[in-house]
């Protein structure tokens, strides 16, 4: 009891000292500079072409408030392996809007933003809150964030008699109708620490809890004999909850000839049995005052979800069934290159043009290429494909 009393006292004292330390920060923080960006992007790989553009702006009102907004549109033309083997190739448009503001009080920045994403068969609404605090002589920045999202899933159905498009949100699981909605909560903590005059490190932790309808209404699993071409299909069946935890570490070092190198690592685990490791390294190198290049390599590997299988032995073989290649044992590696040209007019005003290219190679360890239905599953090759991503960006600082 004496120990407990002492501990409480010491915690109170520690709290007072910490608050004293925080209140001793004499000068205030700053909000990001005013800026507008527009980005054209195109993804091409695995039978999927996604082209679109995004725009975003951030504008300060006085020294303590800023407003920001963004718009993003994707035109999806998909003939991916899932789509070709289970449905018909399709085209659709996804639009996303977001708006938010930040308020700076002393060393603390409070942020609120809302985001709405809509496509014909998927609607998502999100609201995010964040608090950022600079402390210990601005050597440390701590950010806390929370996002709440709600999704509504629908299935695109073509009425064969009238050839009209309809959308259904009536889904049956175990003979019962299930609600076509999902609820997401994300909790984030980030700490950025200046370690030396040339070295900075960041730790990010994120936990996500999802509940509701978490599968695609289109995708199916296959079952039967691996040595036979007579294969049957049934709908996927996912758990209605998923909790994940991810921790990311990254560190950036300034090289004396004015360049930087960044090394990053992320570990991810969730209640579906997926564990993943991500490693990346980036090198940023300027040419003169106005040109800047960036080069990155990234490697990602994951272990499959516990209820994933490329081929189940018979119908309803498990309580939960998945054949989504995102949930399989897989790896990918990517190369990234970027080149930027900047025209500076004043300390704040600039125009920037940038080009970026990513090459991503995906390799699946237990997802077979079933595009050739004449082959028995045991003889089908493992699936792999490469993607190219191109981006062009224009930026304005004002």
């Amino acid at each position: 009891m004496r120990y407990l009393t002492l501990s409480r006292h010491s915690f109170c004292i520690a709290f007072v000292f910490l608050m004293f330390g925080l209140l001793n920060e004499a000068h205030a923080g700053v909000l990001p500079e005013d800026r507008a960006d527009a980005l054209y992007h195109r993804y091409d790989g695995g039978g999927e072409i996604v082209g679109g553009w995004s725009a975003t702006f951030r504008k300060k009102i006085g020294e303590n408030v800023d407003f920001n907004g963004s718009y993003d549109v994707d035109m999806v033309s998909s003939a991916s392996i899932d789509v070709v083997t289970a449905a018909s190739p399709y085209k659709e448009k996804r639009q996303q809007y977001s708006a938010g503001f930040q308020y700076l009080h002393g060393k603390t920045t409070y942020g609120v933003s809302g985001l709405k994403s809509s496509e014909p068969d998927y609607l998502s609404n999100n609201i995010s809150y964040s608090i950022k605090e600079d402390m210990f002589g601005d050597l440390t920045t701590v950010t806390l964030g929370f996002t709440r999202g709600r999704d509504h899933v629908r299935q695109h159905v073509v009425d064969k008699a009238t050839h009209t498009d309809t959308f259904s949100d009536k889904f049956l699981e175990f003979g019962n109708e299930v609600t076509p909605r999902a609820d997401r909560r994300n909790y984030r903590v980030g700490v950025t620490q200046i370690l030396t005059k040339k070295l900075i490190a960041t730790v990010n932790y994120e936990s996500q809890a999802m509940q509701g309808f978490l599968r695609s209404p289109y995708r199916r699993v296959r079952y039967g004999d691996a040595n036979s071409t007579s294969i049957s299909y049934q709908s996927e069946l996912y758990p209605h909850t998923r909790t994940s935890n991810a921790i990311g570490l990254e560190s950036r070092y300034y090289l004396s000839y004015r360049a930087s190198i960044k090394i990053g690592y992320r570990y991810y685990t969730d209640t579906w049995g997926i564990n993943s490791h991500t490693g990346d390294v980036q090198y940023v190198h300027p040419f003169g005052e106005n040109w800047l290049s960036e080069w990155s390599l990234r490697y990602y590997t994951q272990k499959k979800a516990s209820f994933y299988s490329d081929l189940f032995p018979y119908a309803d073989a498990q309580n939960f069934l998945a054949r989504d290649r995102e949930l399989s044992t897989m790896s990918d590696y990517s190369f990234h290159f970027g080149l930027e040209r900047k025209w500076k007019f004043t300390q704040k005003v600039f125009v920037k043009a940038s080009f970026f290219y990513d090459r991503i190679q995906y390799d699946f360890k237990d997802f077979r290429n079933n595009l050739n239905s004449k082959l028995a599953p045991a003889n089908q090759p493992l699936y792999k494909y490469g993607s190219n991503v191109f981006m062009l960006q224009g930026s304005l600082g004002f």
Binding site: G21, L39, K197, S260, E340, F356
Partner: protein
């Protein structure tokens, strides 16, 4: 050890509060850290888009720094 714990907590708090007054990297020593080659969010729109590209094709998400710590060096 139990008696040492409160003392350690107080000492840690004093050290931490001390850091607020005497940072070991002074503001005028942060020129290299403030250089744009050291920025993690030089192109936030590109980072957001690439995060989206990866999230829809991998089984993992989060902790990418997209909503992370930021930097106190400006």
């Amino acid at each position: 050890m139990k008696r040492l714990l409160p003392l350690l907590l107080i000492a840690s708090a004093m050290l931490l509060s001390g850091c607020a007054i005497e940072p070991w990297v002074k503001p005028y020593e942060r020129a290299a850290l403030a250089d744009e080659v050291m920025s993690n969010d030089r192109n936030p729109l590109v980072d957001d888009y690439m995060d989206h590209v990866r999230e829809v094709r991998e089984g993992s998400r989060g902790a990418t720094g997209a909503a992370g710590g930021g930097c106190g060096c400006n």
